[in-house]
């Protein structure tokens, strides 16, 4: 029987692109294999030097790629660190289903952390605004989750091409005892030599995908046939158009007064929380079609996320406070 991931998640059978990929025998690595080698090096380096590493697992496509790289880095051993998912409780149901089934399939250890206190007090983006909601359910929850586990290094799937303030992020990003990032005191980072020295309470965020672009991630998903959440593929779904973005509707409770659902062929470019992640209209229902679409429509992937647009430079502010 074919595994869950082969049939359900990526849908497509392994595409016949193997001959297009440069073989190792050419003694010249393609950019994708070069990036792969660099990322594996980073993963191994951090595992060798930190006492308690963890991987921030967001269930998105970047996390899926990072997870595959971790499998490769430590093969035939198991991934030598747990995965930590910060669950805001507003994630897409398909994400949670994918998370539970896929991590079980590959035998990874999964930790799920929620800010239960804030949720009990009814924290939601409508009442609090996206900034405050993210602050409580993501940033605070993340810092608490890291502190609870005593983790001194946390892998994140962030890429430098995502957003302007990320472009200056180091691969090893130093965080003080409060989990905060100071762009002015970053350690210089030369060659592939990383400074892993920290004092008690301090930590390092490690970004193995720093040099990958969104296109690289999709090409690698294709090349390696990596399972991803089905929400990335276009499909007719119930949605409302709210404040210029397309919001997926799962139940009537989500509707604001006066709103009516409509059917639309849409997909997600990045996955976040249901109320704050917009979809795009698309016909791309396979990985190659997504790649083609991406090359044609040059719009940055975070555009559909409400949080980046609250204020000019808001991502940078969040990062300084400890957001990933």
């Amino acid at each position: 029987m074919a595994s869950f991931s082969e049939v359900v998640l990526n849908g497509a059978p392994a595409p016949n692109v193997a001959e297009a990929a440069p073989t190792y025998g050419e003694r010249r690595l393609s950019h994708l294999r070069t990036l792969e080698a660099e990322s594996i090096y980073i993963l191994r380096e951090a595992v060798a030097e930190f006492a308690h590493p963890v991987m921030l697992y967001s269930i998105g496509k970047d996390s899926s790629v990072m997870l595959r790289l971790a499998q490769k880095a430590f093969y035939p051993g198991k991934i030598p660190f747990p995965l930590l998912h910060i669950d805001t409780s507003y994630k897409f149901p398909e994400m949670i289903e994918f998370r539970d089934r896929y991590t079980r399939e590959i035998g990874a250890e999964l930790i799920v952390h929620q800010n239960r206190e804030a949720l009990a007090q009814g924290a939601n983006p409508f009442a609090l605004g996206t900034q405050k909601c993210c602050g409580l359910l993501k940033t605070k929850s993340l810092l608490d989750g890291l502190a609870e586990g005593g983790f001194d290094a946390a892998f994140g799937g962030a890429r430098r091409d995502e957003e302007k303030s990320r472009a200056k992020e180091r691969i090893y990003s130093f965080r003080d005892a409060a989990g905060q990032w100071d762009p002015k005191t970053q350690r210089p980072e030369l060659w592939n030599i990383f400074n892993s020295r920290i004092d008690k309470g301090e930590s390092i965020r490690v970004f193995p995908l720093s040099n990958w672009t969104e296109l690289d991630v999709w090409l690698y998903i294709l090349l390696e046939n990596i399972p991803i959440v089905p929400l990335y593929f276009a499909q007719e779904r119930d949605v409302v158009v709210r404040g210029g973005s397309i919001v997926v509707i799962y139940s009537k409770d989500q509707l604001l007064p006066g709103e009516k659902t409509q059917r639309m062929k849409i997909r997600m470019r990045s996955l976040g929380c249901v109320p704050c992640t917009g979809a795009i209209r698309s016909d791309a229902d396979t990985v190659p079609k997504i790649i083609e679409e991406m090359i044609q429509f040059r719009r940055s992937e975070r555009e559909n996320r409400a949080i980046d647009h609250d204020e000019e430079g808001s991502m940078e502010l969040k990062k300084r406070e400890g957001y990933f």
């Binding site: 359900v8 990526n10 849908g11 497509a12 595409p15 016949n16 692109v17 297009a20 990929a21 440069p22 190792y24 025998g25 003694r27 010249r28 690595l29 393609s30 950019h31 994708l32 990036l35 792969e36 660099e38 594996i40 090096y41 191994r44 595992v47 880095a73 430590f74 093969y75 035939p76 051993g77 091409d161 302007k164 472009a167 200056k168 762009p183 002015k184 210089p188 980072e189 030369l190 060659w191 592939n192 030599i193 400074n195 020295r197 920290i198 040099n211 296109l215 090409l219 294709l222 090349l223 499909q235 396979t286 190659p288 790649i291 083609e292 040059r298 719009r299 940055s300 000019e312 940078e316």
Partner: protein, 563 residues
Amino acid sequence: MNLAFAPSEAHSELLRQNLRAELLRFTTAGSVDDGKSTLIGRLLHDSKSVYEDQLASVKKSRINRSSGPIDFSLLTDGLRAEREQGITIDVAYRYFATARRKFIIADTPGHEQYTRNMATGASTADLAIILIDASKGLLPQTHRHAYIASLLGIPNLLAAVNKMDLVDFSEARFLELEQAFGELAAQLGTANVQAIPISALDGDNVVDRSERTQWYGGPTLLEHLETVPIRRVVTTGALRFPIQYVIRPDANFRGFAGQIAAGTLRPGDEVMALPSKQSTRVKAIIGHDGDLAEAYPPMSVTVTLEDEIDLSRGDMLVNPSKSPEISTRLEAMLVWMHAQPLQLSQRFLLKHTGKTVRAQALRIVHRVNVSNLQKEPARQLQMNDIAAVELQTTAPLFFDAYESNRITGSFILIDPISNATVAAGMIRRPVAENATYGSPVTLAEREMRNGHRPAVILVNDAKLAKMVERNLFDDGFQVLALEAEAVSRDHLPKLIGMTTEAGVVTILSGVTADAKKLLVKHTEDSSSFFDLSSINSTDDNEVLQRVASLARSLRNLGDANDI
């Protein structure tokens, strides 16, 4: 769900191109306002790598320092402080792609005090674009940038002669600058040099060929980036495989993981392990999707060996007939990156491949004046200074000259107290022990022999001092108990300076409050000064215990991996 994949011809070709593309890393350097940010913004824009919404946000911005409709520099200047000051303050990485190549740009600032950022960006680059403002010509910083590029081993230099619009696209002016730059590059020994006349603001010769430089027959900037030969990874040289991590899922499997730094590796190859010098053969190169027939740089692989040999992180597998240099003493070019200057008495952690050892600078051979490339004597190194320095390490390193291998020839220095990365080093050569023939014995050498650092310990009375002396002596320390009363107050600091320079742990008793103040003032390294005279215990044991534990810390010279 129907997600079946039926590739059309167009799909396949597009995918094939993208999957085949090569990677070129380049860095940009230039003085402030030469137009680096504008050039990069222009490259991203004209190669259609800018997202529509990003462009829209730049168009909306209140800031526009250019004379055109779009200030392209805003596409690249990211951080808040920069937006406010209108300058680039750190290294920013940018990505764009054409059908042939993917590019990673390290955008580094031009301020003179930011040499360290340029060195950072240059450390991984295959090519450097050096901007020259056509209306200003070569500036002192142009020399600095070209020098740093060559120091960090960048094989290709591209002189982008910018703002040609300000000199009416004059051919004579371009040829004059091309020649001046060519002479500079020749002086630095950089082989591959290309000069291109451009206007970053208007886009001339950046992506599209300019109508206004009919006299120019060379490539546009992007054409050059797409076609310049990428330094062939070192596949022909001798094997260098630094061990990063040992994979042991169970008792039957022991795999050595790492990234190949030079040479090729095949099953059956004879390899030698360092430092053990044991030889064995490669059994298999383990891959996630099946074993590999061959591995070469920069692949990250896992290797199994025929025999059980002594091998762990920080060790190296090499070609038995072409071993790297093995030495505890070496000469390297240092780029000093910290606000606190380099002092010869300072102790560092040195990280080289997967190995971290303790190190000390023995002497500054010379500092390089980067404006005229002259060698100067120096006693200290300030932030952004570049110098040839002799270093002593506590455990041997296995290395090649940086010229021949960027990975096995590079290291960083870390301050063990603040954990800051304080310097980047490029190894030139090992320094033989007999190179010290006739030269003064240094404190570092004494420390190596003694196995501990010197220190000064203040205790209450002479009898206790003698007891401490006996304990430490029996423990193998170079130690001397002194009564302060025997020396005049003003001579005490000098005497202590001499015993410290001799590498000795000095136990001092009977020091007056006055004399103590003077001593503290003259102590260079406060981490080796211990005042136990205030312990007012009737039981001497407390003092003896404190001494025993601080003595242990004086022994911390060893391989830092062990602590």
